[in-house]
Symmetry: C2
Subunit: 190 residues, 2 copies
Amino acid sequence: MPKPSKREDLLASALEVFHTRGFHGTGIKEIADAAGAPKGSFYNHFASKEECAVAALRRYGAEQRFDLLTDTSLPPLERIRRHFEFLRDGIAGRDFTRGCLVGNFATDVVDHSELIRSAVADGLGSWYELIAGALTEARRDGAVRADLDPQATAHFVVNAWEGTIIEARATRSAAPFDTFFQLIFDVVLR
Amino acid sequence: MPKPSKREDLLASALEVFHTRGFHGTGIKEIADAAGAPKGSFYNHFASKEECAVAALRRYGAEQRFDLLTDTSLPPLERIRRHFEFLRDGIAGRDFTRGCLVGNFATDVVDHSELIRSAVADGLGSWYELIAGALTEARRDGAVRADLDPQATAHFVVNAWEGTIIEARATRSAAPFDTFFQLIFDVVLR
C-alpha cells in the first residue's frame, strides 16, 4: 500500500512543475525529482501524467480562495472583487509568471487530452457558477442593473480575467489588472 | 545563398505545427519534415526555434484581417465586430482547437523566452492600437458613450477575446463567442 504522504509530496511537486513549465514541458522524472522520490514510485500513485495533471488542477483550484465568493459577511460585488484581488496578488507576487493553471492547460493541452479538457471545462464551470451566484445576489440587492444576466456575465467576467492574465504575463505589468477592475466594476457590473 | 521559397515553406510549416502542438510540443525536425526539407536546412533560414516562432507569429498576425479595423467604408463598431467574427469563424471552423497563436505563446512560452515574450507584447500592442483607433472614431461619431476610454477599453476587449477562446476550446462550443459579442457590444461599447 503506497503511503498517502508520498502521494501528497508528488502532487505538490506536480503542481509546482506543471505551473512553472506547462504540461508538455513537464516530465514525470522532474515531478519525482522535485518530490525526492524515485521515478518508478510515481506510478504507484498516478496512472499517467494526464491523471496527475487533473489531480494537480483540482489542488490548484482548492488554493484560489473560491470561498470568498460565498462569504455572506461581505456584499456580493465585494466578494467578487476580493476573489480577483487575491488572484491578482498571486500572479503579481510571482513577477507575472506562471499565470493561471486553468488557462495554461486550456491553451497548452485541451486539444491533446480529453481527460484534461474535461477537467478544465469542469473547473471553469464551477467558477462560473460561483460568480453567477454572487451576481444573482447582487441583482436582488439592486447593486447591479436589473437586466444583468448573471450567467452570461459570470462567463464573461471569468473569461476576461483569463485574457487579462495573458497581457499581464506578456508585458510583465499590473496595468492590465487595473484595467480589468475598472471595466468590470465601473462598466460591466454597474 | 538559401532559396527564399524554402524559407517560405518552412515558415508555413512552422506556423501550422506551432499552432497545432504549441511551442514546447514542436521540434525543428517536425517543422522540416512538414516542409519536406532536411532538418539541417532549417538553420540556413532561422537562427533558432525561438526566432522561427517569432517569424511564425508575425505571419500569423498578417492573416488575422487586421485590415478590417481600418476599413473606413464601415462604421467603426462594425469594423470591430467583423474582425472578431472573422477570428471566431476561424476557430469554430477548426472545431474549437488551436485557439489564437498569440494567446498560446503568451501562456506556453513567455516565461521561458524573452524574444518571444517581446514579440507577443508587440503583437498585442499593435492589436490594442488598432482597436483603440476604431473606438476613438466611434466615440467621435457618438456611437459609444462619451466617457468611454478608447485605450483602456481596447485592452479590455482584446483580453476578453483571448479569455473567451479559453472557454470555447475547453468546452468545444461557440456559446462563449455569443456571450462575448453580447457583452462587448450591448454593455461595454454602449
